[in-house]
Symmetry: C2
DNA sequence: TCGGGGTGCGACAATTCACCGCACCGCGTC
DNA sequence: GACGCGGTGCGGTGAATTGTCGCACCCCGA
């Protein structure tokens, strides 16, 4: 990142927000972190930001609305949308509303930065991304990871969300270090 | 659709292609269906099309390249990308390369048409799409369906792709009529 | 100090899975 | 027509996984 890049971070989850903020600061960025869309639009109006990172799941207003608003305020502003786990439809909508890229949590800070720089996720795969066929185990694992992140690491809650027993989740997590 | 809308359909799977072609024709469109990117670009050069439907998985060239090519030939052409099962990354890439929308098989012909018209998938969900948390069973079921479609209904092949036993797949299919 | 909720783990029965085999069928090929 | 090949449906069996219950421990707010 350029010297003192100013980033706007919008995420209502304090843990995740602060963790990501630290990670970004450690990489040389100046980060203004807020929890609500209201604060975000206010901050965007005053501070000259070089990029914005917006969680799609915000209390009250949808992150998508915020994306549109930020894009309206400063059309050239690189916006990256984060979400616990996204759908293709919402990803496309986010991009149409002005987002530069769309990443799912847990997101690598470096990936976020490169996405902001315009080295979009797809750009990482130069030629094409031959859609591979993930095994059932792989899909299960990835979904568990997403939900676990979404639940903030709370195993009991994640198990409830997943519709399986807590014990089973624990066992899956214990066994499945890296399925592939 | 307008009277005699001319559509270009590119898909290498004969069954799927012909079925979709019939469905589109039944809805009043004129459909030129081809199997390969080579034929598609040739047809696009000569015929004046009102829209294109491109499968992402084409033999040889990637469907993404074809999207870029078609977009280059006729920038305003509405292109809808179809794929057995997509990722967010490839969806975004397709859109950036000029696609108007990105749908996953099995795709409803009506949705394809509305996507071509610009009533994008997200537009169908007026306000927003609050990303829900699918249960593990649900995710498993959906993935099985995608892979099964991808395999053309071939259970043995689908089981191999999924990395599970054919017998297990059969049992899953037998039990799981509509998980939720 | 007392819940309430989360976590880690043992035990056990019920379920499911992987793996085997068998029969049948459609389809090219010889 | 006989043959091989690959797909499908299904039964059986032992191994693995899951659902459930219980217990101990911890943190935290009332």
């Amino acid at each position: 990142m350029n010297p003192r890049t100013r980033l706007l971070l919008v995420d209502d989850d304090p843990n995740f927000r602060e963790r990501l903020q630290r990670a970004l600061v450690a990489r040389g960025a100046e980060v203004v972190a807020v929890a609500f869309a209201r604060e975000a639009s206010g901050a965007a109006r005053t501070g000259g930001f070089d990029g914005a990172i917006v969680d799609l799941r915000l209390p009250g207003e949808s992150g998508l609305d915020l994306v549109a608003e930020l894009h309206g305020l400063k059309p050239g502003l690189p916006i990256v949308v984060l979400t616990g786990f996204g759908s293709i439809a919402t990803a496309l909508e986010a991009v149409r509303l002005g987002a530069r890229d769309y990443l799912t949590k847990p997101a690598d800070p470096d990936r976020i930065l490169s996405a902001l720089r315009g080295e979009a996720s797809f750009a990482a795969s130069p030629a094409e991304a031959p859609p591979e066929i993930p095994s059932l185990d792989r899909v299960e694992w990835e979904h568990i990871q997403r939900v676990l992140t979404e639940a903030g690491g709370n195993i009991s809650q994640a198990a409830r969300l997943l519709g399986i027993d807590r014990r089973s989740l624990q066992r899956k997590l214990a066994k499945h270090p890296p399925p592939r």
